[in-house]
């Protein structure tokens, strides 16, 4: 390697490093500082208060606790549904059939739609009286269900989970599908020769080999779901009440409606700590599988 290259390789990465330092590291440090201070609109004094913002959020702020709970519910239910559906679709697609390529392409469309549009679509599609989904459900069940989709806490959550599932199941499907396609065919063929049926092959031969891909998909999806914001703002606006208020939405409200920056930054650090613990645990699992 030439002497020149030693400097050169750093010159190439300097502009991104500067941007990342200015727009991610500096704000993080600034937020850390803010999170230890009492920081409210209209009050000029900003005294240092140690961990009061943190303890206040965790132990006293019921809205923060609610937001954590709502986010957890969305995480667990949405990921379970998407992984199962994605897996099911991937197996469905693993054989040959007509128009496979074009159909696969159409399934990718929801991923490319901006979440804001997905939220808006969910809203107008689920609205009682005017939306087509209540109409179709009533038609299939042949009775007036009268479900208040957007104003009942339970059903509002169903709407948001459906919207996210509509958008991101194709993503899960696509990854698992390409994982299945890249598997070696010999074990599958020899199992078939030994008389195993399709279900046995899927369960005992294909699925174990997909462990790594499933974990990666699970990790990406769960981190994405923690960001859930756009869809909620366009469908339920966290309502009814705060029954669909996720952590991102509440932090947004804290910062830009109540101008309570101390609490908002403390809240985002609690979130970061949760993410770091969750991610490092999961990555240990993933690398464990990889090295086996």
């Amino acid at each position: 390697m030439k002497i020149f290259d030693i400097y050169y390789r750093w010159i190439l990465v300097i502009p991104p490093i500067i941007l990342l330092l200015v727009l991610t590291v500096y704000p993080t440090l600034d937020a850390l500082y803010t999170s230890f201070h009492q920081h409210d609109a209209m009050i000029p004094e900003k005294p240092f208060i140690w961990f009061d913002n943190y303890t206040n959020l965790i132990f006293e702020d019921e809205r923060y606790q609610n937001a954590l709970y709502v986010t957890l519910i969305f995480e667990v239910i949405t990921i379970s549904i998407q992984m199962l559906l994605g897996l099911f679709m991937a197996f469905l697609f693993s054989g040959e059939f007509k128009f496979k390529k074009i159909i696969t392409s159409i399934y990718l469309v929801p991923m490319m739609v901006s979440p804001v549009v997905v939220g808006f679509t969910a809203r107008i599609a689920f609205t009682n009286d005017f939306g087509f989904i209540p109409q179709i459900i009533d038609f299939i069940l042949q009775k007036e269900t009268g479900i208040a989709w957007l104003s009942n806490g339970f059903w509002a959550r169903v709407v948001i989970i459906s919207a996210d599932t509509w958008q991101w199941t194709p993503f899960v499907f696509l990854i698992i599908f390409s994982g299945i396609m890249s598997l070696p065919t010999e074990p599958i063929e020899s199992a078939r020769v030994d008389g195993a049926n399709s279900w046995q092959i899927a369960l005992y031969i294909v699925l174990p080999q997909l462990r790594y891909i499933l974990l990666v998909t699970f990790l990406i999806r769960s981190l994405d779901l923690l960001k859930l914001f756009d869809v909620i703002l366009l469908t339920t606006r966290a309502g009814p009440g705060i029954q669909t208020e996720t952590i991102s939405v509440y932090l947004y409200e804290l910062a830009f409606r109540f101008w309570s920056m101390g609490n908002a930054t403390a809240g985002s650090f609690i979130l970061l700590i949760i993410i770091i613990i969750f991610t490092s645990t999961l990555i240990r699992f993933i690398t464990g599988y990889e090295s086996k």
Partner: protein
Amino acid sequence: MKVNNLFVVLRYLIIIFILVLTILPLAWIILTGFKAEVEYLHTPPIWFPSDPSFHNYIEMWEDGGKDAFINSLIITTISTILALLLGIPSAYSLSRFNTGGDNFAYWILSIKFLPPIAFAIPISIMFANFNLIDTYTGLILVYTTFNLPFVIWILRGFIKEIPTDIDDAAMIDGCGRFQIIYKIIIPLLGPGLVTVTILTFIFVWSEFLFALILNNSDLYTVPVRLSQYFSEAVGLRWGPQSALATISIIPMILMAFIGQNYIVRALTFGAVK
């Protein structure tokens, strides 16, 4: 063999069912964009407009849609170009010299996965101090920065697959490192680079949180304009809103078809090839 035939039919039925579920919501907003107000606010819902017209499109376009479109187009184009211009050389450096080691690479990757709200709050304070709220510069800075991790990480993987012999041969012929990047590496990246460019464009185009926070009222992008319809006290303007939603997603969907070759690899950050 009868069981097998049943299975084939069942599979087709399920595939068609999922296909319908995928298309119906999109069809609904596209159709709503062509309906008159009495039709999209009708019980029971009407599927097909009796007299389809572009009046919703015209209303939407004149009522802020045009500005939103121009803003989005400027911000998205410049951010995407900048992210690529800065990202490609870095990706080259990371893949060829392993600059900064694995930790540096993983630090860059981690930024993409953290929730943007955590950065958005302090950035909004910072931007207010520097008068960057409501400016193109502010949003372009943010979008360039937050898409660099994606560009760098994915292209790093693609460049690793180009043999280093090519670099060496070019150097013997008298090429500098910059020339190697722009004359040899970029053409060889080909479809991979197209996918990365298209996805970056779509990410920026769809971004909502930063666009919402870093503007007051003057500078709104298409997603922000779409959300504003709900806060305006003008009733349910679903027609114009659907029109705006439709023209904002059609170009993205078409682009995605072009870029779908490496889409799995790009969207999983190279974890799945």
